[in-house]
């Protein structure tokens, strides 16, 4: 009896421990819930060191469905919580491309019929050939719906030996088929902007109306509203109706770009101005330097430098003489940089050649170039200092003369832009002050280097032709590029003023030339009077107040707060468009709405004033205007009916929105009178 009891105890112990041991290793590969069967599958018959694929197979009844990572307006994505040893890494679920499932007026994303959610699992090598199999288990929850929904839970587990090599499991073909339903391995880059009612996503990946963007996250896009697509200059821009729950501006968004058959993951970054200026400073400095070097060859500069180069063959220089030209160039460019920084701190948007927007400066340059041309042709008096230029400056050899040559070279170069320069200068205009000075100095170095080399290495002048009578011909020939520059300046002057102002400028130029010629051939007081006349001719068009062109063109006028107020007080209808080159939404609106024929017609009507503010380089006046409407950026469209009222248009325009708003404003003005 005693012995029997002992035997029984042993037997029970064995049973219990055996059962216990089996319970640990016991696999629960599948489960069922109402309207669904779920199973845990492996791609291979055993685990292998490195990456393995396991899968959760969800098979709902016919007409029932499960959900994608973003379930849409209702529903819930399956969730997996793994229990595995610490050194085993479980990856993210590979979600096959979902279907859009409409439910009444709402939309869900999910899978009708069976789906396999594969998960990569990384197993370290030391698990190979261990005595006990490796067990992985997962707490799975799901929601299965037809119209009604039923949630379910199960804990599934799988035990397999880890071996160096393993064969494919019977379910491997299911893994292979599922792989075809996964998004393409290629990830697409995009940029997005958030407007009051839309998310605007732009990519250079070709798409057509078949393609839609499904957001990975819920609460981003209104799932049940129609997306639209606009193509502008080879970029494809989706207008996604914004979810009412999106109250922030996400820096990054992830979407699935799909046409139902093929799909790609699309990673979108918020479109900001800063991204445009991402080039490294050193590259920009190099570009500025190269730009400066090439600037020497521009027609406005070359003649001046050619004369100078020919004159230096004759004399020996001290070190300071040699450096004076470089100093003059550096000085002048840094004065430019200083003006840029000062103007900008005063809220003005400036670009390279900003001074060329001032008609007085353009007129002054026209006189300067004409004077140089006359000088080259030996018509103007030699050896005097009118406007700081003269025989002494160009052909003299003292330090101060070299320095002034440098300054003069920069002044005559200022209307010109050389290749490489535009990009570097464009960025300089929106950069912090030290960068502005650095870039302008790089430009100055590039510009000054060829002449400075000539000063330092007189041997180089061996390559220059020997002086002689031919020099006089070359010199006179070089007057023609100067005169060509004068033509361009006079043309530019017309753009900024009007025909009568241009006539005045041309007459003054003629009078100026004649006065100089008289001064050249006269002596004593006659010459003095001629100089005074020349100065008088110069002063008239420069100092006269300049009116901007009065004729109304179809293109927008530049935004001006003062002008806007005047037009409002004058009971005019004004359409204000605040835009920027880098703004995707603005480009879409220009393409879809503003370049529409009917809209163009409406805007070019004599009853409507169209103003455009360019926010490409930030500017205080436009910022103040945007702030007035609680905006921090563009686009912004406002239609004014005089002082009576204003309408702020949505950030996504259609031709009808613009036309109706303008018609309403016109109507309001009519009722007023």
């Amino acid at each position: 009896m005693h012995k029997n009891t002992f035997t029984l105890l042993i037997l029970i112990f064995c049973l219990v421990s055996g059962f216990g041991a089996r319970a640990v290793a016991k696999e629960v590969l599948s489960a069922t819930g109402p309207h669904i069967y779920v199973e845990l599958l492996t791609e291979k018959s055993h685990f292998v060191p490195g990456e393995n694929l396991v899968g959760i197979y969800l098979q709902p009844d016919k007409e029932w469905h499960t959900y994608w990572r973003n379930p849409g307006d209702s529903g819930e994505a399956p969730s997996l919580t793994w229990s595995v040893p610490d050194d085993i890494q479980v990856g993210e679920i590979n979600w096959p491309t979902p279907q859009q499932i409409p439910v009444a007026h709402l939309v869900n994303y999910g899978y009708e019929g069976a789906v396999l959610l594969t998960v990569p699992i990384s197993i370290p090598a030391h698990y190979v050939n261990q005595s006990s199999p490796l067990q992985l288990s997962v707490d799975l929850s799901w929601l299965v719906c037809k119209e009604d929904c039923i949630p379910g839970w199960a804990t599934l587990s799988v035990s397999r030996q880890v071996q160096q090599n393993a064969e494919l499991s019977p379910q491997a073909s299911l893994f292979a088929q599922t792989k075809k339903r996964h998004p393409d391995a290629k990830t697409i880059a995009a940029k997005h902007e958030i407007t009051e009612a839309h998310i605007v996503v732009s990519t250079d990946h070709p798409a057509d109306e078949e393609w839609t963007l499904l957001p990975f996250e819920n609460g981003v896009v209104a799932h049940n509203e129609k997306q639209s697509l606009v193509e502008t200059d080879g970029r494809f821009t989706f207008l996604l109706p914004k979810s009412e729950y999106l109250t922030s501006t996400p820096q990054s968004l992830t979407f699935l770009l799909t046409n139902g058959i093929t799909s790609y993951q699309l990673d979108s970054r918020l479109n900001t101005v800063l991204e445009q200026n991402a080039q490294p400073l050193l590259l920009l400095m190099l570009m500025a330097f190269l730009g400066g070097l090439i600037l020497n060859l521009m027609p406005c500069v070359l003649p001046i430098l050619a004369i100078k180069a020919m004159s230096i063959q004759q004399v020996q220089f001290s070190l300071t003489d040699k450096l004076a030209y470089l100093a003059g160039v550096l000085f002048c460019f840094n004065v430019f940089a200083l003006v840029v920084v000062l103007l900008r701190s005063g809220g003005e948007a400036v670009g390279w050649g900003f001074h060329m927007q001032e008609p007085a400066v353009v007129a002054f340059l026209a006189f300067l170039f004409l004077y140089i041309a006359l000088f080259l042709m030996n018509i103007a008096p030699q050896g005097n200092r009118l406007t700081g230029v003269g025989q002494g400056t160009l052909q003299g050899q003292t330090k101060s003369v070299q320095f002034m040559t440098g300054v003069l070279a920069v002044v005559v170069a200022s209307p010109c832009t050389a290749p490489f320069m535009a990009a570097a200068m464009g960025i300089a205009m929106v950069s912090p002050a030290p960068t502005v000075f650095l870039l302008f100095s790089s430009l100055a170095l590039g510009f000054a280097i060829p002449m400075t080399l000539l000063f330092f290495i007189p041997k180089l002048s061996v390559f220059l032709p020997k002086p002689g009578k031919w020099m006089e011909s070359i010199r006179q020939f070089l007057a023609f590029p100067m005169l060509a520059t004068v033509i361009w300046l006079v043309w530019l002057f017309l753009q900024q003023t009007n025909a009568s102002a241009q006539l005045l400028l041309l007459s003054s130029l003629l009078f100026f030339a004649m006065a100089l010629w008289i001064a050249d051939i006269s002596t004593g007081s006659k010459a003095g009077i001629a100089y005074i006349l020349a100065c008088g001719a110069l002063v008239v068009p420069i100092l006269l107040p300049h009116e901007t062109p009065s004729e109304k063109t179809q293109t927008a006028a530049k935004f001006d707060q003062q002008k806007l107020l005047e037009l409002q007080n004058d009971n005019q209808v004004v359409f204000v468009n605040m835009t920027a080159d880098w703004c995707i939404t603005c480009k879409v609106n220009e393409q879809v709405a503003l370049s529409n024929e009917r809209v163009k017609e409406t805007l070019s009507s004599s009853l409507v004033h169209y103003m455009e503010g360019d926010w490409t380089n930030k500017n205080q006046e436009i910022l103040a205007y945007l702030n007035q409407y609680a905006r921090a950026g563009v686009p912004l469209y406002v239609v004014y009916a005089g002082n009576q009222s204003h309408q702020i248009l949505p950030q996504i325009l259609t031709p009808d929105i613009v036309i109706n708003a303008i018609e309403r404003a016109k109507q309001e003005m009519k009722n007023e009178h």
Partner: protein, 200 residues
């Protein structure tokens, strides 16, 4: 974009229809029949806080909050503070969650629920006016008739009652803020649950 900018943009957006429910804007008025056959309007309760709860007793997500007594305790807590609680059923006849007046009263009794009224929106018009998407979907209207909260009941989107304790209850947080005279911080959240069983 912070809430303030968002609201400002809403103010300046002419395209947003005035009829629809928008946060911090007047909540659209409606009149529905309750389980006693009486007509009940939102405007009847001006001067009081009103909670709107879209419900469907067969929806597992509704069952999560009733089965755990979470919904009943919210109803009790705020009705004691003179808050009006309206449970709205937008299920169409023949759809899940559609009940007769008697069944609705029986459900209230069986579940120890404590709503001020249970209202029928069988044609779904009020549900669409408020863009009610799921059951549950919660709204708070203030004494001035302005919509102050719209969205999920809490922060964990699951049908598992065990998650209730771990979640932030958005409705509770919003009501506490309002009753202590503060502004609601989280004013809208994506709702979760079963889709409202609208007339197709």
């Amino acid at each position: 974009m912070n809430i303030k900018t968002f609201v400002l943009i809403l103010l300046f957006t002419p395209l947003v229809s005035f009829a629809k429910a928008n946060i911090d804007k007047p909540a659209p008025d409606f009149a529905l029949t309750n389980t006693m056959g009486e007509e009940v309007s939102l405007s009847n309760f001006s001067g009081k806080y009103v909670v709107l709860e879209w419900t469907n007793h067969l929806c597992p997500y509704v069952q999560k909050h009733y089965g755990s007594n979470n919904m009943q305790s919210l109803q009790t807590k705020y009705k004691e503070q003179d808050v009006v609680w309206l449970s709205i059923i937008s299920s169409a006849p023949g759809k899940q969650g559609y009940v007769s007046a008697e069944q609705a009263n029986q459900l209230t009794k069986d579940r120890n629920a404590y709503p001020t009224h249970v209202l029928f929106d069988t044609d779904g018009s009020v549900g669409k006016l408020y863009s009610a998407k799921t059951t549950p979907h919660m709204y708070v209207v203030d004494p001035d008739g302005k919509l102050r909260y719209a969205g999920a009941i809490d922060s964990i989107k699951s049908a598992n009652p065990a998650d209730i304790a771990k979640a932030d209850n958005y409705l509770d947080v919003a009501m506490q803020a309002l009753l202590s005279g503060k502004d609601v911080v989280t004013k809208t959240t994506p709702p979760y649950g079963c889709s409202v069983k609208y007339k197709s």
